[in-house]
Amino acid sequence: MAGVTERATERVRDVPAYRPGRPSPGPAAGKLSSNEAPLGPSPEVRAAVAEALATVNRYPEQGLALDALARYVGSGPEQLIMTNGSDELCYLVANLLLGPGRVAVVGEPCYQIDATASLLSGASLRRVPLLADGGHDLEAMAKACVGASVVWLPSPHNPTGAACDPAELADFMAQVPEDCLIVLDEAYRAFSDPELRPDVAGLLASRPNLLVQRTLSKDWALAGLRVGYGLGPPALVEALSRARPPFSVNSVALAAIEAGAASEQWRAMSVAMVRQERSRLERALGSLGARYFPSQANFVTARLDLGRLGPALAASGTVVRPGADLGIPGWARISIGWPPQMAILRATLYAVLGPVTNGPGQ
């Protein structure tokens, strides 16, 4: 009879360990490895977080934050579930809808937590390779959804940054069987071009098998507080809420949500800065003839030899995410940081990969 350790190990045999982005050896701004928000949250959110420390002896009350978030997303609170980071929603979905004998569909490479939550539930994965531009092969994914229980669909995708065309996304959803839950992960929605942001309210109204997943770790800059949320049919939201551990979103995070909902100008400024720097990085990569996936997210993934770049990056206090951690060896995912840090990064790229050419970026 297997011991405890053997049984536990057997369960995670196919689950890769999560390797978080490494911190910078220098100033924190040099950490370009975890798609974090370089400017942090607004002054109002910082103040609310500090004030909330006075009540950490009490259990969290999420009513006001839920209402504030519902107003922000334009939904009813009954359509909304807040979670401890959007990753908790992955595990809740897997707990309720996956398990031994069930199938989950993912792109390949995929967002690692989608695969981890699925495998831990005992489900198997049906992997659909991405297209050459880093986008989902929606036609192949729709076919793969037949007989599956869940399809995980990040758009913009992580780790490529490619976003689905909204019309193609709607066509895809129409093809997915109604007994397969579509989890549309919009972690990076705020950084995408406006015309590439799907009409979520319209989709939710017409698709009973759609759950929209978002995080407050990116444009809201609350990665350390772990807050995410899901938008879906009220009955599904109710079921997910019953599976969620009590108080999974802590009181400090709830205070940040309330204040953050009113910090629209701060987010707009921060997102504009990221989009500006993303364009500048893509132009630099293009001028160097480096392949990259045109990104709609707060990172750019490029084919870069980190063995060659690594020492110079380290010397400049910059850390990026090796593609090997994300299922795409030979590539590197570069989070968009504060403009001075991005200038330092470009200087390193030019110094190691130059001379500058006018070669294509693709």
Binding site: L39, G40, P43, M269, S316, P340, A343, A347
Partner: protein, 339 residues
């Protein structure tokens, strides 16, 4: 020694080239430039060639860097420093009162090669040591913040509220300095560039009049019901901005002029007297540079959004040429050094 530098010729063409730097003499230091901020006065020089006393010129007077040579040993090798941009003559009656009152003031970049270069040579008396934990790309804001602190120091008491005309970097820093000094002070802004207006609102400013000339307080036409602002800061410098600033001020209010406009503007002395207006001008700084570094070190994230764009020296000539018609949201900084 030779150093890579942006070179501005008499035809006002700027290119990246090489310039010969005389080695630092007694009382001087060689500084490896980490960051150099782009000031509105740099753009004025690019457009007009004003104030430059040598050609080709290397502009850039908002400089943070590392001391590489200091023959006199006044500043240890490897010290991160901010450079005081002022070059007072040290001999005139104004200098006897305060360096900022020099009758013959000249500035780094305009009177001697400045910071848009990998190296610059400056007097050791111009060097202020950076706090060790302060990021250089934040410290580069020390010089313009010192200007803003000096301007705000002209105010003797808390105004009821404030309006900042023009939300370029100096306008933004004056805003932050006003609310640092007087917590909770309501500061409105009037700024036509959308990115700058968005930065101001993100930093807590209130939306002010879109057209100040049409939204005047008791001193002018337009919305005469508006009581006006207790303080109006003219950080815009467009033709007529001072007239608008006075008109937007409340009776007994103050108009603080920090913009360098050369336009003659109509002002009626009787109105100033009747309305008990105070007009104060401010340029440069006195002893605020070190204080500015302390303020930045105490709350770097508060100032981080102001550094809105960073370019390498190789990218700078092209960006500076377009900056007047395509301004950045906040401060543009140049990175001359390459590890």
């Amino acid at each position: 020694m030779k150093t890579d530098a942006l070179l501005l010729d008499r035809q006002l063409t700027m290119v990246l080239g090489t310039r010969e730097l005389a080695p630092p003499g007694p009382g001087e230091a060689l500084v490896r430039v980490a960051w150099a901020g782009v000031c509105g006065s740099d753009l004025h020089v690019l457009r007009t060639g004003a104030w430059v006393t040598y050609w080709p010129a290397t502009l850039g007077h908002e400089v943070v860097g590392v001391v590489e040579e200091c023959p006199g040993g006044e500043v240890p090798h490897g010290t991160t420093v901010v450079v005081d941009s002022r070059l007072p003559c040290g001999e005139c009656p104004g200098c006897a009162a305060a360096p900022s009152l020099c009758h013959h003031m000249s500035w780094l970049g305009e009177a001697r090669p400045g910071g848009f270069a990998r190296h610059t040579v400056v007097p050791v008396t111009s060097l202020v040591t950076c706090p060790t934990h302060l990021e250089p790309a934040i410290a580069v804001l020390a010089e313009p913040l010192a200007v803003a602190m000096h301007a705000v120091s002209r105010l003797s008491r808390r105004p009821e509220d404030a309006l900042v005309l023009g939300y370029g970097p100096i306008g933004a820093l004056v805003h932050l300095e006003l609310v640092r000094r007087w917590t909770g002070l309501a500061v409105s802004i009037s700024e036509p560039v959308a990115d700058r207006r968005r930065l101001g609102l993100a930093l807590g400013a209130l939306p002010g009049p879109e057209h100040p000339s049409a939204t005047r307080g008791p001193g002018g036409g337009g919305d005469s019901a508006h009581r006006g602002f207790g303080l109006v800061v003219d950080a815009a410098g467009y033709p007529g901005s001072l007239t608008d600033a006075c008109a937007c001020a409340a009776n007994a209010g103050t108009v603080l002029v920090v913009a360098l406009s050369e336009e003659t503007v109509p002002l009626v002395p009787a109105r100033l007297a009747e309305r008990t207006l105070t007009i104060a001008g401010s340029i440069g700084f006195d002893d605020e540079l070190g204080k500015a570094l302390e303020v930045l070190a105490a709350a770097p994230d508060r100032y981080r959004p102001l550094v809105s764009e960073a370019v390498l020296l190789e990218e700078a000539a092209e960006r500076l040429a377009s900056l007047s018609r395509s301004p950045s949201a906040g401060k543009v900084v140049v990175r001359p050094w390459q590890e």
